[in-house]
Symmetry: C2
Subunit: 335 residues, 2 copies
């Protein structure tokens, strides 16, 4: 490890905000030298032995996710917690940038010295976003944050991805007629630990209560998971605007977290997540090395052209490319 | 290529049914010698220069997919077409078997000599199912089938997978209230070429017509795709029980197919599909070779244990495993 990395690690763990941002930027880079430095950094930070509650948060657009994050985050800050908010938006890879205005929509939280907001990295693949977010969680944890909120737009597989890297998963929903209950995909219901029906204020208060009861009923139909205490997954109402229900929601999260820590479920979950991360790193790493191998870059275009023209089956072309990759890593045979 | 493979290829193209089944079974095998034989077989069969219409079919459970396939398939058979039905059910990988009773639910079609029904292979991954199904399509095509129906349960990503290996995609839906329209995922609407509202008979006829109009309206809101002639994607009603609308549906498919062939869209689509298959074969092949490398199998368990215990970061463990893989393929340095 270079002097630089060591200095950066020390600055991150001592709470230096600029160092924190720089560390995350380093982890987001795909440059091979940056990757190596990021790996070294994470190796050091992993020894920091700090422990945060990692909370995943998703919700359909318009449900008030930013307002909720702002209100909920400020509540935690006022209770003496340090809060990091990481946004994950795989779709931003296509549109070329991170969610605009995240910080402006969380005006108070972004100004609080105890809080840190980081927009989504613009990456080309879900796998790339997953790796960077995993790294960012660990960096924020080493930096001493008590709660790390990982917020995602409900697009494609991003919810499952976020649930796979957090300790508990919140699903934020809007008050709605009973018919729309089916609109929430069953798969999402199954990964939620806490459903929060937001906007339980003013004219919508009664509808929110009814919606909440509908979801509570739907949750009871799901099979009981071993990692859940009595009463979980739960459905509750809240209002990011009036603050109603936020305290109760936080209490529920703490109760669930404490139960899972005590029963060893949290350790088991984090271990399983680390194993899944290893699997993913291997898949991505194989592809990266394959694509960078000179023998492959020299011949793959011709093989692909053969497939395009129908002169080669995809199976045969892949086999040839893989043989080239493996042989290309060997020293040339002596004449 | 062995004598056996050549004999098998000749038997398949001459229309031998047992050879067809055996060829698909060979392609479904993961044994390395079977994979090599299957690749050789596909290489020969690719030269058969036959051409089928490859139709993907999906629909929610209970919509009458089997009844539709039976009625539609019999119609084609009566019109002199040879029809192959391939079922794709990635969830069968978990339950350990292929869809039970597919053949019994298609009693007439399964007895017709011009038809061939093959249940889903039980595979461990979506990628595995994709490869086998792609191969099975090519084998059926070489065997002289005119229409290949690839049927999938609407689970997870299986629809996209099937759309990615067929020429056109049918979405079978049930008559329903307008509210449920939103239940059909937007992504699925976007890959559909023809929406068929089934059960347009008896009491449900009026509802089916209304549902069809709703979907037609929704389809008009989607952006026009370059591969579609005027009026497509289309929504129509049909009844698998009375046979109403089946003729019109087939005519629409033929019209779409002819238009796409003429405009070069079909060739472009199949080329893109072949390139995607190449990409997928490379990904799967890299993993297969990695897992089989002696240096990896010897050390990976210890590396994984290090990750599990938190002594190693997933990034570091992956990097070490990948180094072992690459080095393991090299001859040992001389002393």
């Amino acid at each position: 490890m270079t002097q630089d990395t060591e200095t950066l690690a020390r600055a991150v763990t001592s709470g230096d905000r600029r160092a924190l941002s720089r560390a995350i930027t380093l982890a987001e880079s795909t440059r091979p030298d940056h990757r190596a430095a990021a790996r070294a950094l994470l190796r050091v930070l992993a020894t920091a032995e700090r422990d945060a509650m990692r909370i995943g948060l998703s919700g359909t657009p318009g449900v008030g996710k930013s307002t909720f994050t702002e209100a909920f985050g400020m509540r935690l800050v006022e209770a003496g917690k340090r809060v990091a908010v990481l946004a994950v938006d795989p779709s931003s890879a296509r549109s070329g940038g991170s969610i605009l205005g995240d910080k402006t929509r969380m005006e108070r939280l972004s100004r609080a010295p105890e809080a840190f907001i980081r927009p989504s990295p613009a990456r080309s693949s879900l796998g790339g976003v997953a790796r960077r977010t995993r790294d960012a969680i660990l960096i924020c944890e080493a930096a001493g944050f008590d709660v790390i909120l990982v917020e995602t737009v409900g697009v494609g597989q991003s919810e499952t991805m976020v649930a796979d890297m957090t300790d508990l998963f919140l699903l934020l929903l809007a008050p709605a007629g009973g018919d729309e209950l089916q609109g929430v995909k069953r798969g999402i219901m199954e990964i939620a630990d806490l459903i929060l029906v937001n906007k339980a204020d003013g004219d919508l208060a009664a509808t929110a209560t009814r919606t909440c009861a509908d979801y509570a009923g739907a949750l009871r139909l799901l099979r009981r998971r071993p990692q859940d205490p009595e009463g979980f997954p739960a459905a509750m109402t809240c209002s990011a605007v009036t603050g109603a229900g936020l305290e109760q929601a936080w209490e529920a999260m703490c109760r669930l977290d404490a139960w899972r820590r005590e029963g060893g479920h949290l350790t088991a979950r984090r271990r399983a997540q680390a194993m899944a991360a290893l699997d993913q790193e291997i898949r991505e790493g194989l592809l990266t090395r394959f694509r960078a191998a000179p023998a492959v870059t020299a011949r793959l275009p011709a093989l692909a052209e053969g497939v395009r023209n129908g002169h080669l089956t995809p199976e045969d072309a892949a086999e040839q490319a893989l043989d080239l990759f493996v042989a290309g890593e060997k020293p040339l045979p002596r004449p």
